[in-house]
Amino acid sequence: MEDLTLLLPFVFIFSAALVAVVVGSTSWLQSANGRSPLTTLAWLLALAPLASFVLLAQKIGLINEGEKLKASLTWLPSLNISFSFYLDGLSLLFALLVTGIGTLIIIYAGYYFQKEPSAWRFLSYLFLFMGSMLGLVMAGDVIVLFLFWEGTSITSFLLVAYKYKYPEARQGAFKALFITGGGGIALLFGLLIVAGVSGETSLSAILGSGDLLRESALYPLMLGLLALAALTKSAQWPFHFWLPQAMSAPTPASAYLHSATMVKAGIYLMARLNPVLGETELWFWLFSIVGLITMVLGAYLGLKQNDLKALLAYSTISQLGVLMMLIGQDTDIAFKALVVGVLAHALYKSALFLVAGTVDHESGTRDLRQLGGLRAKMPITAVLAVVAGLSMAGLPPLFGFLAKETLLATAVHPSLPNFFSWVLAAGSVTAGALMLAQAGVLVFGTFWGQPGEAATKADEAPKLMLLAPAIPALLSLAIGILPEPEFLAALLAKGAEAAFGDKVKVSLALWTGLNVPLLLSIVAISLGSTLFYFRHPVRAWQTNFAAQLDLNRAFAATLRGIDWASDQVTRLQNGRLRRYLSFIIVGMVGLVLLFTQGQFGQLLQTMQNDVQFTWTGSQDFLRLVAILVTVGAAIASVLLKRDFAAIVALGASGLSIAVLMVLEPAPDVALVQVVVDILSVVILVLALRLLPRKERQNALSLNMTGGQADRIRNIFIAASSGLVVTVITLFALTSRPRESVVTPFFIENAKPLTSAKDVVGAIIVDFRALDTMIEIAVFSMAGLGMFTLLRQATQALGDKVGEKRPSSAKKLTSFGIYGLRTSVFVQALARLSLPLAIVLAATHMMYGHDQPGDGFTAGVIISLAIGFAYVVFGYEETRARYKWLSAPLIASGMFVLLLVGTSGWLINGTFLSPVDYGAMLNLSLPTGFYLSSAFLFEVAICLSVLGSVFFMLNTLGHPEGLGQNETK
């Protein structure tokens, strides 16, 4: 059934992320009146997941009737991929966990960070994660699923690295991204193979092609890749070690991502695909064995931890192992155990994490060796810890007991091979006992026993903060003792059915009579209690014994190996960039020689046949002169020692290229080349001012004395690369087709399609408009980037750039760029040049469609006039004179660009398609001028360019930009 309301939760959650950013960028959070503004913000933002939760909860009825909801948006119709969502029992179960626990986490985070106004960043990451996670479990298309999967990896990285100033946070985040990101790549390939075999990317279609997939020859490969993704994401052995490291995330994130939601994404993925990929031998053994090892290993390692969060992390790994093992089974009871396990674990583990966070928050430590006896100071927290801890221990009458019972029932299911059934039962009992012991260690060690040093300063947390752990903890109790809630049992059954692919009966009754699982449970509880009683010697023994099981070392060793290998390979890279350049250039020369050997003779032959240089009079003479000047000036810029002279020579070279272009004839290029060349000389000269002369002379003398050998080497490298480029060019020129394939299209269609006479202009603003748009964006970014770099620099020096200075005192002194007084005549010229430049620029843009000229040239022409003003009037006065020159120019340019593009989209159906507004509105305009999208496009380019060049001139022309080195 189509149901577009499925999209609403995403709207809510992603808007909340946006609101967090917007509020964060205002100063509201900094105001410290009364209650912490961040707490208030969190309460308000929590409405988004809450609304999503309610909205999704309303679907329970429909889902329980066996309905499957879908919502899809057109995305890539040509590839038959749509941005679609899908909701059945399994998705809904996870979606409710994501939004429900998400609501509590947001509220909790508001208190956790109440003294940290900058934590809006954390909130917005959390919402981004929430949206990604929700998208992952509700994706109706495997490509969509992949996108959201990667979204969770990236947001998880941001959350773990939230306290990025601490190395542990950075390392933990890196490790998590390294492992889960690798899994993400495997997922993409796996899903592509699945989609390729089944011929569809939509989930409902894939779910219907199980036989096709299982019988495919690619089955082991796709299963292997998908399993790799699931095992890495869900922290299964041997990839489990990233999870404890990720505990350097702030506790709200750990509680949410690393216990309740994200680490279950792998479980969700395999449960989702079980009906189509499961029920094979490979599937059974792979997940049973990996899950079993993870379950026992996680429980074993958890018991020896002293850090509350590390203990919880390992017990999470163990529980994830349980779930993964259950997915391997092919029985209905296993999938009942799966859904019950997912829910029970999410409830008690998020509660315990939040309790641990509260303890950490209030006492300042989460080290069990310093904790103890907190019961008196934090009574409510202690009660919550006991309730959730009992559920973790799997004791009646809590929900966790049911989870363990169904697990044990799965382990002794008669369909299993007899021997393996024993292994599974023994493993489950062991893990259960260890889990009970560590739940005891966690609760008892924190709240009972000798009050540790941390206990003295601790105090009970705010009541509303405790709401977050209280709700899941009490739910664990309520589901256990209250009469069975019908709708929940039905929903769990639907979830299990979706994963199993057949009917599953779910009842939530704790007491099922005296049977084998109950007996095993009693064994596990007795064993666990014994372990708990002897916890001190056991944990001491573990600490001494188990060091070699640590896969972190293997990971570190692998990374070290990679580092060592790359170190060997990159011996040549000693940090001297010039040397790198040499290797790159020499390598290129070598490659070209290698692949063209023996063809030089042939090349010369072709050239002799091909080249006929016919002298056609004065034009050719001019051309020859231009060529000679181009090359001569380039060589001069190499030979001239003084930087200033070399820059001027470079400018001369560029100008003569412009002359060449005029003769070619390429008037548009010539225009741009002229203005850009002048502007780049201006900028280089301004920049030269910023680099102290003494240093430059030092470098120069180093160049001279740098050894004859160095110089000869340079000449050799330069000459050989020049030669090779000559050869490449000749090859390209003589072997290409004489007639261009695409050019005739542009020439023929320029007029009918864009009504432009200037074909070059038509290509730039119409045929390749998107390209130009991006080009201008890049250019604007260069301008903004320059501004940011230099502002940062001057601020680092303690300068106060950009602050309002009292300019009235020194007003209109007309001191030029080096503090020299400029003559009145020059000042008059400078005043006149700007309006003239603007008129010139305007005509360029108005008639640029039919004649050479474009918005870029226009922008640079105006900028040059402003640059002139900088030289004549100096920084202060220019700024005072032309106040309209500011950052919004770039923004308005980009805005007009988008507007023009969108209008084309609205009117003609294609983004950036040409529109003649003048003709549409019947305006009478001067002949030859069309008020068209092309004209507005030029104006937009002009504005952006003007803004960017202003930034360049402004940062380079700033008097304090001179830097302290020069003034000292």
Binding site: I657, I683, A699, N703, T726, L733, S740, M786, G961
Partner: protein
């Protein structure tokens, strides 16, 4: 003409490479500029080097006599981007200079002041 174009490109390229191999940062920027010129000429020469009319569609013009507009449009973009990159490089170098206190390329082996 092809031969001459190839020689120009080669010479400009050699000059550019020589400059970026030098130790001074200012020379490096000049070298980048020269390499930019060389690349533009290379792209430009890829068009059909006819000496015809500029690519403007006036009434009654012979379409076959027009210079190839495509490489012209391409190098227009290249010039603009090249200039943007060059300007950014200048500021970056200024910042590097401020940070490490040298414009000697061989001293730039760390992101902080040389020991």
């Amino acid at each position: 003409m092809e031969m001459i174009m190839a020689l120009i490109v080669g010479t400009l390229y050699a000059a550019g490479v020589y400059m970026i191999r030098r130790r001074s940062l200012v020379k490096l920027i000049i070298g980048l500029g020269l390499l930019g010129h060389a690349s533009n000429m290379l792209i430009f020469s890829m068009g059909n080097l006819v000496r015809g009319n500029p690519p403007l569609l006036h009434e009654g013009i012979d379409l076959a006599s027009l210079a190839d507009p495509l490489p012209q449009a391409l190098i227009l973009t290249a010039i603009v981007i090249g200039f943007g990159a060059q300007a950014f490089a200048i500021v970056l170098i200024r910042r590097v200079y401020q940070r490490v206190g040298t414009d000697d390329m061989d001293q730039l082996i760390a992101t902080d002041k040389p020991r």
